[in-house]
Point group: C2
Chain length 206, copies 2
DNA sequence: ACTCATATTGAACATTGTTCAAATTAACGC
DNA sequence: GCGTTAATTTGAACAATGTTCAATATGAGT
């Protein structure tokens, strides 16, 4: 067993604090946006010094990247929960779930997609991989709907669909670009899928 | 006449410097990204003090916003140059021109779409309006192709198409998301339009 | 309880946006 | 031209914020 009693006190506190820092950072990003995230604010709210934040995460980007990592994970869980009996419904479900998640956590998603590293350090591979995995959830329904298409075609198509839906949603929720009301946005996404799936021959023309 | 001889010397210098500051800021954003833009670098390269940058643009956001404004203008000019004889070709042309422009000026476009103001000041209305005007260039061809659709439907559709294409291109060019080679991206955009326009009944099923 | 390795601290530093009193400069009337 | 004046320009000082590291405190092992 490896329960909490076995953990040295030192590590317990470390772990607890790590979680607290992340919780606070996430809350600030979610409510006030990435640009409002400040080391000192996080340290103060977590009841520790700025040095501790650095000990735990290396640099401030480390905090942001960890929050982003957890955002993709949460998104993946939500997307994986979409019912998969009917592949067409599944595709609509994935898009609508993405919309719902984006609407709930707009600033967290923006942090994921818009954050640029200091200098020109590369974005961590594992996060990229997680994003890819998330939209690979479209593969199975697409394979079922287009049995004769090869893997490359499926991969390309899922990437296209994901990117297109992402564009519609992210620009649609951008307040500054004359935000579309959420209900209307859902309709917009559905109509987009109607047209696109029809064009792919998946839905029949009405 | 209002030629350069009539301008007081003071204003001439002011105008020249304003242009120079913008040119330098644009060059830095374009080559090293928005995050690498620093007041002192700009001032030094323009041969003036940091104070002058502030006198001219109010604050540093002012410089960025002015560069962004000029980016939309340049984009609009390019898009407006797409031939309009055939509405279907025009739509493809608009998308491909957007792709070409985005590929050439990726960092400038990211600055336009991703820059967030300090605090929560609103993004200037005139820039939003310019972006709207840019993608309103899709209205005429869509009206010709869908004569029975009302204005609201056209506006919504053009917004959807623009957002979708923007998503495909911006994620496709994102190095960190496993960048798609430009040639492949063009194919991807074309295939997207094929399917979507077919689904809308604009292209006939092959 | 003592020792030692480790974690934590926060003051000091580095970088970068912002301000403003002082210096400079151009415009104008003579 | 020259002095006066209003406007502009300057850059040192300030403010905000990311980062470091020597000194301190703390938990683990005996």
């Amino acid at each position: 067993m490896n329960n909490v009693q076995d953990e040295p006190l030192r590590d317990q506190k470390k772990i607890r604090r790590r979680l607290q820092i992340l919780e606070i950072a996430r809350a600030i990003i979610a409510t006030k946006g990435l640009r409002s995230l400040k080391v000192r604010d996080v340290a103060e709210a977590a009841g520790c010094s700025v040095g501790s934040v650095y000990n735990e995460f290396g640099d401030f980007d480390g905090v942001i990247l960890t929050v982003n990592r957890e955002t993709v994970q949460a998104l993946t869980v939500r997307l994986a929960g979409v019912p998969s009996e009917d592949p067409v419904h599944q595709l609509y479900g994935l898009a609508e779930t993405y919309l719902a998640f984006f609407a709930e956590h707009a600033n967290l998603l923006r942090s994921l997609f818009e954050h640029r590293m200091e200098d020109d350090r590369p974005y961590p591979d594992d996060i990229l991989q997680m994003v890819m995995d998330a939209f690979a959830l479209m593969h199975p329904p697409l394979v079922r709907l287009l049995p004769e298409a090869d893997d490359v075609k499926i991969a390309l198509l899922s990437r296209t669909l994901f990117s297109a839906v992402h564009g519609i949603i992210s620009l649609g929720l951008e307040e500054r670009m004359v935000a579309v009301p959420p209900q209307m946005l859902r309709q917009q996404v559905d109509q987009f899928l109607d047209a696109h799936l029809t064009g792919l021959g998946i839905l029949s023309v009405r």
